[in-house]
Symmetry: C2
DNA sequence: CAGTGCCTCTGGATCGATACAGTACGCCGT
DNA sequence: ACGGCGTACTGTATCGATCCAGAGGCACTG
């Protein structure tokens, strides 16, 4: 049998508590006795207090759960997500806490909430979930601190994010000011079905994902102000947030008449794919077709993409801080970080 | 106070065990009573058995720890690591298990082992650690299943990996067969100091990292067989596994006389950087200078890089399987996956 | 009607630690 | 000699569940 505190205590001839103190509160016993205990423990092959038992008693798990939809692979592939995780990891590390990655099923009702109920963690970070996902209710029930990048009516969760709608409103105003009137939007989560192709979105409010809904709303507002009705805006859904998917989506838009003069993608990855498709047709980005992204990932700079910059790593870092010790005042539990429109080479005056 | 099993039991008028069974073993009680219990629990705001307490009793944490050196950011930036994690995540998911990412300090003795001792996990996956790292001893002491991609004398750990030396031996033989005699090797972990620049490696055996040591050994053997003494091989250490670093390392090699006719990088990322440097000098890869990588990441195909292919995702997947239920027979606890030399455009006959 | 077996539910022991009140003891001042 | 005080250590209660031997009820059998 593996040794426990008691095993060591018996071997040294002291009480269990004293052995515990030898590990957790060295100031509570003499240095001499502590040495004797640690030596005996090493001899017995005792590696220190059992983390699970300690967690139970201390009521601290030493980990925060990060919720992902379905495949974790996505998280590692998306540059924005990577930046976010880096930020989260940095504050976790500082708080002597690990990151527990939890995949949530999107179909199986059971596998969709089980990770939330079973995870040994001190709090949860919601990366991005649709409004209807059952895990959101499970999170509330569990009663642990939660930080989300999305707002949800009635939720106790902290918020760390940006004003998504204001960000795309700025981008939309930029396009309108350049004279664009025929626009299209490409994004990932417009429909539940994961397929690439044109979709009809009667109103941005219908979209189940917070970020996409808000970003669409921003574009809608900016365009409406510029006299462009939402019904004239083409919307294309993609199956996955990938460069090839962005190109495929753009193909739908570029090969039909009348061609849009500007395409707004809801992520940079997609926007880069759109650029590929534009160039593949011999069109010049920023002249024949303007392209705008979102996130400002490193490749956006390289490729001169006009996009909305958001502080990805900072979002992660602040999320971690809020989880590690949640402020009692609800007012302090909402952090809205600034975004900026970065105009580069892929946006220009609408062609006449 | 948060409700416990007992709270619910009292409310319904049954025993604690019965409430426990309602959640964990539904077949042990009547459907009717189970409904009443779950209803009462919902009414009390009881979200189900406490994961920590459950873990203690069941002796299962529902997570496996993944050990990283220092910054987690690295893990998310390296394409090979991402593939590996994807594989690991896929089998973890299947086994209803999460991934706990644990950063290990490389300097602070305390922070180097604490995560190993404190993590609530069922096993550990060692991604890549130097032989001297204190966490390795802590892992043995903890007595949990461990899977590593590196072999360590006297370790109980399972092994999932490749024959690193055989892989680079094949690459070395390829270069020798093409007539190369002046060679150089670029890698990340030759020295403890994290800086980019030439280093002297008297013997590959001196290198503290398993993979690099073995890969160097493979090159050494192939070259020795081809009559190229190790002492004539230039070695350059880089501070980080990045493309820019690869280019910087190549700069040292390309700007001195006599220029090596072939440069072997111990990762594709570095090799791509080397290619950048080669091209920046107006030299043609595969003609003036041959370049070989390792890993076969997606970009290697795109850029026509000659490299060693290794099944990254499969390594992760098999590691996960071995951790989830470790075979009793030690013979089954070692998996060596195949590698292949993929010859593309960046290697060619040595210039005369 | 006793005997057998199944189904449902109970209660105490247990997992491995930490918290905290309490005890033992040495040392000081008067 | 004795009260007061600080240090070093002990012992019991507790964290919140699961395990398991066994009790009670009920139907079925001979």
């Amino acid at each position: 049998m593996r040794p426990t505190l008691q095993t060591v205590a018996d071997a040294v001839g002291v009480s269990r508590s004293t052995v515990s103190n030898a590990y957790s509160r060295p100031d509570q016993l003499s240095a001499d006795l502590r040495d004797r205990i640690l030596t005996a423990a090493a001899g017995l092959g005792y590696a220190g207090p059992d983390p699970t038992a300690r967690s139970l008693r201390r009521r601290r798990a030493g980990a925060i759960g990060v919720l992902f939809t379905a495949k974790l692979s996505y998280a590692f592939t998306d540059p924005y997500a990577v930046q976010f995780l880096r930020g989260l990891a940095s504050s976790a590390e500082q708080g002597r806490t690990g990151l527990l990655l939890l995949p949530l099923s999107m179909d199986d009702e059971e596998a969709a909430v089980a990770p939330v109920n079973d995870a040994v963690v001190d709090g949860f970070c919601v990366y991005c979930l649709p409004d209807w996902h059952p895990a959101l209710a499970a999170l509330e029930a569990r009663g642990l601190p939660v930080v989300a990048g999305q707002k949800r009516p009635g939720s106790q969760a902290s918020f760390v994010g940006i004003d998504e709608a204001a960000a795309t409103r700025a981008a939309g105003e930029h396009l309108v000011a350049l004279g664009h009137r025929r626009l299209a939007v490409v994004g990932e989560y417009f429909t539940v079905a994961q397929s690439t192709g044109p979709v009809t979105i009667k109103s941005p409010g219908d979209v189940a994902y917070y970020t996409d809904r808000e970003r669409l709303r921003g574009y809608q507002e900016a365009l409406a102000e510029g006299g462009v009705p939402w019904s004239s805006v083409a919307t294309v859904n993609v199956a996955r947030n990938g460069r090839a998917e962005g190109a495929a989506a753009a193909a739908y838009l570029l090969d039909r008449a009348p061609r849009p003069t500007a395409i707004a993608a809801l992520s940079d990855i997609l926007a880069l794919g759109v650029l590929d498709a534009v160039r593949a047709r011999g069109l010049r980005p920023g002249h024949d077709v303007s392209v705008v992204g979102f996130d400002d990932i490193p490749d956006a700079t390289t490729e001169g993409l006009t996009t909305v910059h958001q502080p990805a790593a900072e979002r992660g870092r602040r999320s971690g801080l809020l989880l590690l010790d949640p402020p009692t005042d609800p007012a302090d539990r909402s952090v809205v970080l600034p975004t900026t429109l970065v105009v580069r080479a892929t946006s220009g005056p609408a062609p006449s």
